[in-house]
């Protein structure tokens, strides 16, 4: 049997804090093959590839390139071994030309000078050879994202890469661009390149890959040939059969609609349409979950509802009142609370005390201030009460937020948002990075608030959480609602809808 281009044996990578990102993973890659690495967010795909690229040192395991055992400790070593990486966030210099980016640090020279013409010619030649049409003299920031990705691929090829790793390459592409990428990968494969294709989208993995390795929670589940696999079989492997989270709750008694979103269109930071016509409704007394893989427009949707991002078209109504374009302050005043996705970046001011952080919503209401002057006494008293009620440990009102653990920081955010007595509560990944106890606390609290008659929109990437909490599940895919499901829908069904698979019936 031919020697694999790349062989990983028993790769184990532990992070400080006891997280095992890779646990004895085996992986092999042949020449002229596209091998997909499939798994949910956090399954350990990127960690494995960062080990390969010399960005992380593994705690155990060995790597072989062309049958020779290698140690890779820096990206330069990886490059020298013919390994090229196309990062999810492109490593390009936006103001420079395509050719300059590709030849950077390996420039063709004429005398002491940089030979721009030769660079251009080499890039043109390379792009023709592999069918990657790019204009060598275009400026990178002026070309489309799809083109920028080609530049990354070309840079790897320019440096002689025979093993190409693409980290979620279609995440930033349009459907048409993804199609073009697949053609490029096919031609590279025909040329004998070995390609690792990281993804969590079932459809495209089935389409492009020869073999598929599925990772789950840092372990390799199986490696299967693409031929014969189905979206359903892959979804089962990917999601697994873990013990379900149990949250006790009674059936919802949904009342009048509190939050209504009508045909909403929103653009992301790059100006691309991230939310493409979403309509949804959350009634008082129910939890509606927005399930989906990260980056399908959830963040932009939440920002638009909470007034932090401009709405292109469509409407947002709270309690029947039109709040489209009202801005963050007015939205807050109208009774919308928001447990932000990133508590350190958005949810908290880490340099503030807990009392100050807990006042962030209501500092300018009569509850905490009068005629522009804060009542520190009331702030402290209220903070003390909230810290007790929400069981925040390790801090008093005067403690800096940065001194708390992640779970307790999150409890503070939850406490503040619920204490504002909102009609609509938007919880964006409220349990990300929390330990089991804190997760349970947040879950119970959300259900309690539902029972108290609040309308709750839960945005989560965790299917278990979605199924445990939601009264209705909306799956979002590429900025649209791909379907509505009951909470007892199978994970396979949900997984399929989340990854763009075809859905039989709702």
């Amino acid at each position: 049997m031919e020697v694999p281009a790349l062989e990983l044996r028993g790769i184990t990578k532990r992070f400080p804090g006891g997280v095992v990102a890779n646990d004895g993973v085996d992986f092999d890659l042949r020449r002229g093959e596209i091998h997909a690495l499939l798994g949910e967010n956090g399954a350990g795909k990127s960690t494995l590839m960062n080990v390969l690229y010399g960005l992380y040192r593994p705690d155990a395991g060995e790597m072989r390139v062309d049958g020779h055992r290698v140690e890779i400790t820096t990206p330069s070593q990886a490059i020298d071994l013919g390994i090229g990486m196309v990062h999810q966030h492109f490593m390009l210099v936006p103001v420079m030309t395509v050719a300059e980016n590709i030849v950077l640090a390996n420039e063709p020279r004429r005398g002491a000078l940089f030979d721009a013409r030769a660079a251009s010619a080499r890039v043109r030649e390379l792009s023709e050879r592999y069918g990657l049409a790019v204009d060598p003299d275009a400026t990178v920031e002026d070309i489309t994202v799809g083109m920028q990705q080609r530049v990354e691929i070309l840079r790897a090829l320019y440096r002689g890469a025979r093993i190409l790793v693409l980290d979620e390459p279609t995440a930033v592409l349009t459907a048409q661009e993804a199609r073009e990428l697949f053609e490029i990968l096919e031609s590279l494969k025909a040329d004998g390149a070995a390609i690792v294709f990281i993804s969590h989208k079932l459809g495209e993995v089935l389409e492009i890959a020869d073999r598929i390795t599925v990772l789950r929670r840092g372990r390799k589940v199986d490696t299967v040939p693409a031929e014969g696999a189905t979206e359903a079989s892959l979804a089962r492997l990917m999601v697994g059969r873990d013990v379900l989270m149990q949250v006790e709750k009674s059936p919802a008694t949904a009342a009048e609609p509190m939050l209504e979103v009508r045909d909403l269109h929103v653009r992301d930071d790059r100006g691309l349409e991230a939310v493409a016509g979403v309509s949804l409704e959350v009634r008082a007394g129910e939890i509606v979950a927005l399930a989906g893989v990260d980056g399908n427009g959830q963040a932009e949707l939440v920002d638009a509802i909470t007034g932090l991002r401009r709405v292109e078209s469509g409407q947002v109504l709270v309690g029947g009142r039109d709040l489209t374009g009202a801005g963050a302050r007015e939205t807050v005043r109208s009774g919308v609370s928001h447990i932000a996705e990133d508590r350190q970046r958005r949810g908290l001011v880490l340099g503030f005390t807990l009392a100050e952080n807990l006042a962030l919503r209501e500092y300018n209401t009569p509850r905490l201030s009068r005629r522009g002057w804060l009542s520190t006494k009331r702030m402290a008293r209220r903070a003390a009460a909230l810290l007790r009620e929400y069981d925040v440990r390790g801090g008093e009102p005067a403690t800096l937020a940065s001194a708390l653990s992640g779970g307790n920081q999150q409890k503070c955010v939850v406490a503040r948002e619920i204490a504002a007595d909102p009609r609509v509560l938007i919880a964006a990944q409220p349990t990300r990075g929390l330990d089991v106890g804190a997760i349970e606390f947040v879950h119970r609290r959300l259900v309690a608030e539902r029972d108290a008659g609040r309308a709750i929109l839960l945005v989560s990437l965790e299917l278990e959480e979605v199924r445990a909490l939601a009264d209705r599940i909306l799956v979002v895919y590429e900025g649209r609602i791909a379907g509505e499901f009951a909470p007892d829908a199978s994970e396979e069904e949900l997984g399929l809808a989340m990854t763009g698979g075809r859905r039989e019936a709702a």
């Binding site: 210099v93 103001v95 950077l104 640090a105 083109m147």
Partner: protein, 400 residues
């Protein structure tokens, strides 16, 4: 950003660019013909030309060339105003003020230290380190240049000492900005005060109240025998200091370095996207260290020009904000050597004119001195198209 926009740009803007440049030129001509030696004594022709300049500017604006368009309109308005003013003043006065060859020579004199400073600023900021300490580095060059020249009796060694002193201050900046990841603006501010104190201290301690002696060896002027006899050119550049020529050559050299050598490409990549540069194996920290030190050396030459080429003496704080004008030139020139040279020449010209204007009106001459700062303020405000700094300027780089 779509490809449609990118591809549509060249065909349309080519003519808009031309219209803009033509407008600027027409505005200048409108003024020029009212001055010696042409001396058209009626404003009408100038006004026609100025109107054409404004028209060119408007055309450029429609084509999307904001900076050029507004530039042309400003040139038109200024040209008209200048011409009207000139036709209302006496011919004798005009001849006193507007001696073009003398104005060119003075412009070069004022522009030289600014150009060195701006070159230093460009090198430093292109690598991603903000250099607000240019003022201090120039001051180090000014004092230690003359100190060195005095002690060694040689202007060459004086220049060397100046460069070492400027480089040493820059090394401190580099250590704080790059290694300690200090706030670059704060540390730069501190260095400016430090340089002011150190030069003032050593100056007083060594020279006391007498000041620097009169017999300091000076950087010589370059006499171009062939050029000297040419009527206009001879008076303008026939007697120009060696350092002025070096500064002008430096502009060209820096442009070649930044945009035509592999090393320059790497330097720019470090200032734009250090992480991208690091992933292809470029040493980000090393590149920045070298760039910062080089900027100190260049700025010090500008300071040394003031002391041992132009004046032949030193007084405390003699750079008097020239480092900040150099910084302004960097911004105004959009971090490009050619642009910065244009800015320093413009600033130098405004100083040269301000020197001669008092013949007319004492008061307006002084306000002329504020022109560089006003123009830079307008430039950073983005009214005439925004200046765009290197993307990573001011951000410390943390290696993985």
């Amino acid at each position: 950003m779509s490809t449609a926009v990118a591809t549509a740009r060249p065909t349309r803007t080519l003519s808009a660019r031309q219209a803009g440049w033509a407008g600027i030129a027409l505005g200048a001509v409108a003024w020029f013909i009212a001055l010696p030696p042409a001396l058209v004594r009626t404003p009408a022709p100038s006004l026609v030309l100025a109107a054409a300049a404004v028209g060119g500017g408007a055309w450029a604006l429609r084509g999307g060339e904001r900076r050029l368009g507004w530039g042309a309109i400003a040139a038109g308005v200024a040209g008209a105003a200048g011409a009207v003013a000139a036709t209302h003043s006496g011919v004798g006065h005009l001849r006193d003020v507007v001696t073009w060859s003398a104005l060119v020579a003075a412009t070069l004199r004022y522009a030289t230290p600014l150009t060195f400073g701006a070159l230093g600023g460009i090198v430093c900021e292109r690598s991603g380190v903000i250099n607000i300490a240019l003022e201090g580095m120039m001051l180090m060059g000014a004092f230690f240049g003359i100190f060195g020249a005095d002690l060694t009796g040689s202007w060459e060694l004086g220049l060397l000492v100046a460069m070492i002193a400027g480089g040493a201050l820059a090394l401190v900046h580099a250590f704080f900005a790059i290694t300690l990841r200090a706030d670059q603006i704060v540390s730069g501010t501190g260095l400016n005060l430090l340089a002011l104190g150190v030069t003032g201290y050593v100056f007083l301690d060594h020279y006391g109240d007498q000041g620097t002696p009169d017999d300091i060896p000076r950087v010589p002027d370059v006499s171009l025998p062939g050029v000297k006899s040419i009527p206009f050119v001879g008076d303008a550049v026939g007697h120009t200091n060696l350092l002025t020529w070096i500064a002008l050559l430096g502009v060209l050299a820096l442009w070649v370095y930044l945009f035509r050598t592999p090393s320059g490409l790497r330097l720019r990549s470090v200032g734009e996207s250090p992480r991208a540069a690091a992933t292809v194996g470029i040493g980000v920290l090393r590149t920045r260290y070298l760039a910062v030190v080089a900027s100190g050396v260049l700025a010090a030459l500008g300071g040394a020009y003031l002391s041992i080429a132009f004046l032949g003496s030193f007084n405390q704080g003699m750079t008097a904000g020239r480092g900040f004008i150099a910084l302004a030139a960097v911004i105004f020139g959009n971090w490009r050597p050619g642009g910065a040279l244009a800015a320093t020449l413009l600033f130098g010209f405004s100083s040269a004119l301000a020197q001669r204007l008092p013949t007319f009106s004492e008061s307006s001459a002084v306000l002329f001195q504020a022109l560089p700062y006003v123009l830079t303020l307008i430039a950073v405000a983005g009214v005439i198209g925004r200046s765009r700094p290197p993307a990573a300027a001011g951000r410390p780089y943390v290696p993985e």
